[in-house]
């Protein structure tokens, strides 16, 4: 049989057409990619269900939401290198700033685009101690005592650790004012009591809970309440210090990619809906503090009042904090030098 090129072409076209047609129903449903931090899996799995319903009510369309989770700095790197996330929901402002600086994927003033500096919920740094609080740890200055040993994620590799560092620094600034020497000696003191510097938040939780390292674990209040719920038989206790750091959980639309994917409106709504009452209630259920007055009143017994210091009061802004404290050769390196 002679080889018939035209026949082959038409056959290929037919196959191609049928493939396209077969794929059409999936394309009609719009889909959104949310790149998020490591420990937010369960949180966004629940929120996505809530949002899907909301979107269907509002527009009559079904929407598919894909999640990507990982350390938030690594997530930012992936997006700069081309992962087409429509929205980011991170736990560090700096990881969204870098999307502007390195990739120009969103405008510099992204924090002004949504209420509360684009942070729909927040948390603070607290201590998890063992049953009965045997070392009587109540506040930051108890952490420098000789017999106390600590577990924190490494401030060099984890936002969680940086928050603890800044919280301690805020306490020191409030206590000793301009006396830089006293502040330095306090910071050196508590860093010296750290027994394990895990690379991430969950690793530190593991060292404290499973390996029984240390007398106190320094991490997010939300993580601590989650641990206490997860291990009711171990009877851990939470200690919320009088002063701590306002840990923001910033969200933003990645404009360049959302536009390319035709998802701008959907992405915007996805983030705005986080501020709705039902979403705020869901977030509070995941142990995050929320801004909605009514909802936070409902959960008031779970979140004791304390003095919260923001990055502005402690270090001016994030860029300055990173440069002065966490960059190599910065304050943290100097305090840890031997």
């Amino acid at each position: 049989m002679p080889f018939n090129l035209n026949k082959l072409k038409s056959r290929l076209a037919l196959i191609g057409l049928s493939l396209t047609l077969g794929a059409t129903p999936a394309l009609a449903e719009s889909s959104l990619l949310n790149s998020s931090y490591d420990i937010a899996r369960e949180l966004f799995a629940s929120y996505n269900e809530l949002f899907k319903e909301h979107w269907q009510e509002k527009t009559g369309e079904t929407v598919e939401i894909n999640q990507s989770h990982g350390g938030s700095s690594r997530q930012a790197q992936a997006i700069i290198q081309g992962l087409q996330a429509d929205v980011v929901t991170f736990n560090q402002v700096t990881d969204i700033n870098i999307l502007h600086k390195r990739g120009n994927l969103l405008p510099e003033d992204w924090q002004q685009r949504l209420p509360n500096a684009s942070s729909p919920y927040y948390s603070t740094m607290a201590f998890l101690v063992r049953k009965g609080n045997p070392k009587n740890i109540q506040n930051w200055d108890d952490l420098t005592r000789e017999e106390v040993s600590l577990v924190i994620p490494n401030p060099k590799t984890s936002g969680n650790g940086r928050y603890s560092y800044l919280a301690a620094l805020g306490f020191a600034q409030q206590t000793w004012g301009d006396d830089q020497e006293a502040i330095d000696s306090f910071m050196k003191g508590w860093l010296g009591q750290v027994a394990v510097f895990d690379t991430g938040g969950r690793g530190a939780t593991n060292s404290f809970v499973e390996r029984k390292m240390g007398d106190a674990l320094l991490t997010f209040e939300s993580e601590i309440q989650g641990i206490i719920k997860a291990f009711p038989e171990r009877e851990f206790e939470i200690v919320v210090p009088k002063i701590s750091f306002l840990a923001e959980f910033p969200v933003a639309v990645v404009d360049r990619y959302a536009k390319r994917n035709g998802n701008q409106e959907l992405a915007q709504e996805y983030l705005e809906h986080l501020y709705s009452k039902e979403a705020q209630r869901l977030l509070a259920g995941f142990n995050y503090r929320v801004y909605d007055k009514e909802v936070s009143a409902e959960f008031a017994d779970r979140f004791p009042e304390l003095k919260l210091l923001g990055i502005k009061e402690i270090a001016g802004n994030w860029d300055k904090a990173m440069k002065e404290h966490f960059a190599s050769g910065g304050k943290l390196d100097q305090l840890q030098r031997r």
Partner: protein, 287 residues
Amino acid sequence: MSSASLIRNPFKVTGRQVLPGFALSLGISLLFISLILLLPLTGLLVQTSGMSWADYWSVITDPRVVASYRVTLLMALGASLANGIIGLLLAWVLVRYSFPGKRLIDALVDLPFALPTAVAGITLATLFASGGWYGEWLAKIGIEVAYNPIGILVAMLFTSLPFVVRNVQPVMEDLNSGDEEAALSLGATDWTVFRRVIFPSIWPALVIGIALSFIRSLGEFGAIIFIAGNMPYLSEVTSLMIYIRLQEFDYAAASAIASVILMASLSLLFLVNIWQARYLKRLKGTL
């Protein structure tokens, strides 16, 4: 005439080949090596090329980074030497004896390759932490393994175990038993037979195995960070220093530190290969 043209042609094909197409198979191999190995390596060097020599030097000689070289090198050396002894013993047992469960042990040797290293790290940390199965007993005699440099050594021991066994095993299997019998019949003691007949033959494979195990340990990250405690200047490994620089979005500095590890590994491999070629030449007369 034909022999002269053969000598001039460097791509000489000897004998009948089972796989057809020398040009094609060499081409595919080279392309693959370039894409998977050489290109990423070039990328690494390009990342560092933005730095001045002074910057490069100050990054790789930072006291904390230097401290990490020291602990990484020492622990890798300890782990690979220990693996040399244990691996040799293991290979010997697997080749020379037959016992129930031999197949199982043979398969288990490859487990460190199959297991994600992070899982290994978490498991080892659980076992060796003060409340763990081993840690509890070791604590009684005053030895702390987890959250200590020794923990790094244990993690390296685990992840690099297969190299020595898998290098020595085939050489041992190929040993000619006639040589041993001849030595014995000439009145040599068992120890002499091992030292003068068996050992010289397996020595190159053993050295290669130890070197590979050492190099593997230099770069290990996943298993170590969960058991090391990561104390600055004490139990931070070099791969963690690279990771820290990546977290700071400082790719150039990360590549600079990585290039030190890379150069150390490459030069060691190179030296061992030269040494092995010479040794084999001496052992077999000509090669």
